[in-house]
């Protein structure tokens, strides 16, 4: 029965926000245009935008303007306010809109929110969620298309969630809101319309637990966010050639479930990381180093990274398609490590 219930990934996030706001009156949401200039203050009034992707549409009618707050275009101001509110008893979910805008509030994120608990000797909690859209694929050009999750993963004190399915999006959002640490929740814009099974009741996907999306014995492919479906498609192609590909989806990048990744590498003896981010100081590079450090003697082939090039995201559809790691690249890399 509930197996048949499907939602889009965006709908799953909406449902998580809705249910968590119902469950806990301290949960509030804020951001630029998350209501979007509703024309009326009457209860049940329709909002107009509901965020740039419409994910929060309808929440103001249910929860009112105190708990669903449009903000000025002042990212440092309202992200800082969300952090201050988190330290003093609320559980704010702040929407940064595109992750590319992180530079504006970054001091509040990495010098304040991420560090308060530690600097205060553990005597503060900062239960804030910062939502942001990531990813290329919609010709949004260099300032609206990056993934950048490596930057937040680099900062001690932050947690980072990168759902690749509607099921995980809901469970990770519920977990993020209930978590007492600051969590970056990154939504790949090309996955928002993807449909999948989502149970109606609230549930948690724990932060820090990877999932083996496809079991295999020949090669481990660790893939992040949108790259999970690319890796799965490549795995299908290779199955026809008799290669058994295991696909691991970290789901959260901080904390990173290193055990699941290492166990898979120890089993298969080969590792490829598929990452839409740029390659320097990236998750792909970090996971490669992890395997080199801790699973070196299990390796039967060089570790390979399939990533975007070290450039901004280009606007031209032709160039952008070349920028994003493709199924063909992943498949070719699997063949390469299998012949090593």
């Amino acid at each position: 029965m509930s197996e048949e219930r499907t939602l889009t990934l965006g709908g799953a996030i909406h449902e998580a926000l809705h249910q968590e706001m119902e469950r806990d009156s301290t949960v509030i949401i804020m951001g630029e245009d998350i209501v979007g200039g509703a024309g009326s203050d009457e209860p049940g009034a329709e909002d107009s935008w509901g965020g740039p992707m419409g994910i929060t549409r309808g929440l103001v009618g249910k929860f009112g303007r105190e708990r669903v707050r449009d903000t000025p275009i002042s990212e440092a101001g309202f992200i800082g306010a969300a952090i201050g509110a988190a330290v003093t008893g609320l559980r704010p979910v702040a929407a940064l809109m595109f992750v590319d805008f992180f530079g504006i509030p970054m001091d509040q994120i990495y010098n304040q929110g991420a560090k308060l608990r530690y600097m205060f000797g553990g005597k503060a909690k900062v239960p804030v969620v910062i939502r942001a859209l990531i990813g290329a694929g919609v010709n949004a050009a260099a300032q609206h298309s990056q993934t950048l999750y490596s930057i937040f993963t680099h900062i001690p004190g932050l947690k980072v969630a990168v759902p690749s399915t509607p099921y995980d999006a809901k469970g990770l959002m519920c977990a993020a809101i209930r978590d007492d640490d600051p969590v970056f929740f990154l939504e790949h814009k090309t996955l928002l319309g993807q449909k999948g099974h989502v149970p109606e009741e609230p549930y948690i996907v724990p932060l820090g637990q990877a999932l083996v999306r496809r079991e295999g014995s020949d090669v481990t492919v660790v893939a992040i966010a949108k790259m999970v479906e690319v890796a799965l498609a490549a795995a299908e192609e290779l199955a026809a050639e008799g290669v058994n590909v295991e696909v691991v989806d970290p789901r959260t990048l901080s904390p990173l479930d290193t055990r699941t990744i290492l166990e898979s590498v120890e089993k298969t003896g080969r590792l490829i990381i598929v990452d839409e981010d740029t390659p320097r100081c990236s998750l792909a590079t970090d996971i490669a180093a992890l395997a080199a450090d801790e699973a070196f003697y299990s390796l039967e082939a060089p570790i390979k990274r399939v990533t975007a090039p070290h450039t901004p995201v280009p606007f031209s559809p032709t160039l952008e398609a070349a920028y994003i790691p493709s199924k063909a690249q992943v498949a070719a890399t699997i063949r390469e490590v299998m012949s090593a």
Binding site: A81, A85, F120, K123
Partner: protein
Amino acid sequence: MPRPSKELMLQMYRKMMEIRQFEEAASELYQRGELPGFLHLYIGEEATAVGVCSNLNDDDYITSTHRGHGHFIAKGGKRDRMMAELFAKTTGYCKGKGGSMHIADVSLGILGANGVVGAGIPMANGAALSAKMQGTKKVAVAFFGDGATNQGVFHESLNLAAVWELPEILVCENNQYGMGTPQREHQKVTDISIRAESYGMPGIRVDGNNIFEVYDATYEAVERARNGGGPTLIDCNTYRFRGHHIGDPGTSYRDRTEVEEWQKRDPIAYLKKVLVEEESVAETDLEAIDQELRDDLEAAIDFARSSPSPRPEDALEDLYAGGIRP
């Protein structure tokens, strides 16, 4: 405006003296090599912290600055655990993980000193939002200097505080210098309170060395904030008697006569004069208070000095909630 009672004035005197003594002792201990890190002394600005915080309840919120010891004591921080934090000991307010620039106690409503100029202001907005949404009648105070009023977050936060009608008091400690740069070289305005108008909130300028002016302006602002009237910007005109930090004598960019003129306006000496001349308090009674506080401070220093240092492995604790280690 009710004039503060004699009892309240004496309380304010004690607080100011607690701060002055703490700062002088910290300065000496630092120079003797007993304290690691940086130290930004508040000496000369005591009337601001105490005048403001005398209007606050224990559960109101403040955000502070790199020059934060005065705010911390005025809001109820105890000098023994503060001193222990400066000594980087486990008995310090932050278990030795924060130090002078990050000293905090959320249970006292003190959301931290801050190493980044202006960075506490948006967080004070958040605390005020919590207070407003939870219907607690608490208020939040953001302390910052004149230098911070050129930061983007100052302007963003004033706008947000006004548009959300937050119960907040924005207190500029205008000590005339951003590090060594005089105000005339970093902003065109002298009276920072005029910036309030452009964000749709009241602004007022007071003599920051006159605790009565600071107290009165804050009294009115706190009343307004608690009663749903939104935020107020207060510009307190004051002066840093010492340099920017302890390694800066503050003499290379300031005229000696300027410093001397301000020292004549010592905020503690002024309150003392009022107490003696207008409230008939005996000078010997004030000296007895000074002595009592000195003894208390000596005990605080002994406590800090004899407290244990953290173990190296403690570095991995306190990062995430629930005991998760990196």
